[in-house]
């Protein structure tokens, strides 16, 4: 199931935020969306889950316009992990994860065996099984981030879109979460992550979509996009790009240009 942006133009309160963005994302890979503040990264992801309406162009899931899909059908296909990690009620972890099944359950029915299995699997994949009965407000930031990821995974979507999932995580938890996302992509899900951290982006990305001022600067395999020239054009900074032990690009910002 391919997810693609076709000539996407989005304006928020009359101000254009995305101009003519066209890119076909591939499932089974981790695509990171990079760009400076205000480049339109979050808006791009929000357009993909129909939280903002494009003025022109569309986001397509195979051949269908995402905005025209039934909300429940869209929810089953695309899981969205918002940047805002607020959980309003102090609910046990297992119940939070079970919310991920919302679009697959009928109004008054209890959870089906498939629902329970999906919740169990999602909690195992994110290593939160031991937290199942803990109230969410008692968890640390890292634990909470994993629980919220498990919520999205429990819905078994074809695509997972995460908006800055690393915010407020320490380096160890950042690495853990990115490893989880890589594992998930390896199993065939399409994973799209908005990131700020170039180092982590290089670690995790198969593909990179680079934005600046709402325009697509580059889209392609990480090794092709994460070059000093392109990153300088996007961020106005000097970047040294090396290779880590696995041969993945290692981007180190050096200073402003």
């Amino acid at each position: 199931m391919a997810l693609s942006f076709e000539g996407l133009l989005v304006a928020l309160s009359g101000r254009p935020v995305l101009h003519d963005v066209t890119a076909a994302l591939r499932p089974g890979r981790v695509t990171t969306i990079l760009g400076p503040n205000g480049a339109g990264k979050s808006t791009l992801v929000r357009a993909a889950v129909a939280l903002v309406t494009p003025q022109a162009g569309s986001v397509r899931l195979d051949d269908r316009d995402v905005a025209a899909l039934d909300p429940r059908e869209r929810a089953r296909a695309i899981g969205y992990l918002p940047q805002d990690a607020t959980v309003h009620w102090n609910v046990p972890v297992a119940e939070i994860v079970a919310l991920g099944r919302a679009a697959r359950r009928s109004p008054f029915a209890g959870p089906s065996p498939a629902d329970l299995d999906a919740v169990t699997l999602a909690m195992e994949a994110t290593h939160v099984t031991a937290l199942a009965d803990r109230p969410i407000h008692e968890l640390s930031g890292g634990e909470r981030a994993r629980v919220l990821l498990a919520r999205v995974l429990a819905g078994a979507p074809r695509w997972l879109l995460a908006d800055e999932p690393l915010a407020s995580l320490d380096p160890a938890h950042q690495i853990d979460l990115l490893d989880r996302l890589r594992e998930i992509a390896a199993k065939g899900m399409g994973v799209v992550i908005v990131l700020h951290d170039l180092l982590q982006a290089g670690r995790v990305a198969d593909d990179v979509l680079l934005l600046r001022d709402g325009r697509l600067l580059a889209f392609g395999a990480a090794a092709d996009v994460l070059t000093p020239e392109r990153l300088e054009a996007a961020y106005d900074i000097a970047v040294s790009v090396g290779g880590d032990a696995q041969g993945r690009p290692l981007c180190v910002p050096l200073g402003r240009r």
Partner: protein
Amino acid sequence: MKLRLLLLAVLVVLAFGLSLIAGKFWIPLSAWFSPDPRWAIILELRLPRAILGLAIGAVLGLSGAVLQGYLRNPLADPAVVGVSSSAALGAVAAIVGGLGASQGVVFACAMAVACGSMALLVALTWRAASAVQFILAGTVLASLSGALTAFLISIAPNPYAVAEVIDWLMGALTDRGMDDLKLALPFMAAGAVLLLFTGRALDALTLGEDAARTMGVRLGRLQALVVLGTGFAIGASVAVTGVVGFVGLVVPHLLRPIFGHRPSALLLPSALGGAALVLIADSLCRMAPGAGEVRLGVAMALIGAPFFLALLLKERGASWR
């Protein structure tokens, strides 16, 4: 969880029984199982009153739980939507207009103003479908209705009308009969059914509006269910009893430690808890010493206000935002 729900249901049955037995005039259980002239008191006075108390308590508790879930705020109750005060405005207008003698007319006026005000609320917030818009619009409607009610009282033609209005505004189950029941019950039942359909969507809102939308929740539809449900249920309850506050605020709170914080898990318990609370409070009102009765609305406010203050102190700086 099932056991706790069952215990709560038993409490409601006991409270219902208490409401039939208790009063200025106690009717012992022995009288229930024999041909006894006191049956008339039970059947004609206390039974309708008990059924009405049960229904009103249930819809107040239920709508409180729904609104707290919808607005993700434990301090919300049906009053924030403005439905109680607009229903009251309709009833007061009928009484001041000299139509107070016919309960049907008072009821119809109260329901009409309540529904009109709910329609206005939906129109004002339809595009945004966000909790902040909703609470602002509801608060404005509530204060507008309050102001218009005060205005009507100030231009009332005679002191008797004023006394009648104030008596009515205080909220009571006194002297309510089968006719009131027949008027109000269908609306309350319809409203309650609408409100019960919100559970799954309220759960999703625990993660915020954006997350809920991407989980398949139609926020516009949810808002319409909330507004119509509270409009019918609370409008009808205010139209027959006047304003009974605090039940919707207090009951979900009391039950949250027992049934958990998940909004859908609180709906049915809050309905049962509200019914039990109103039935018990109304029985206590009848047992109060003196010639008259303490008004149910007053009794509720006396219980509810200190509770509300304690809640504010406890939750100051806590996790709800």
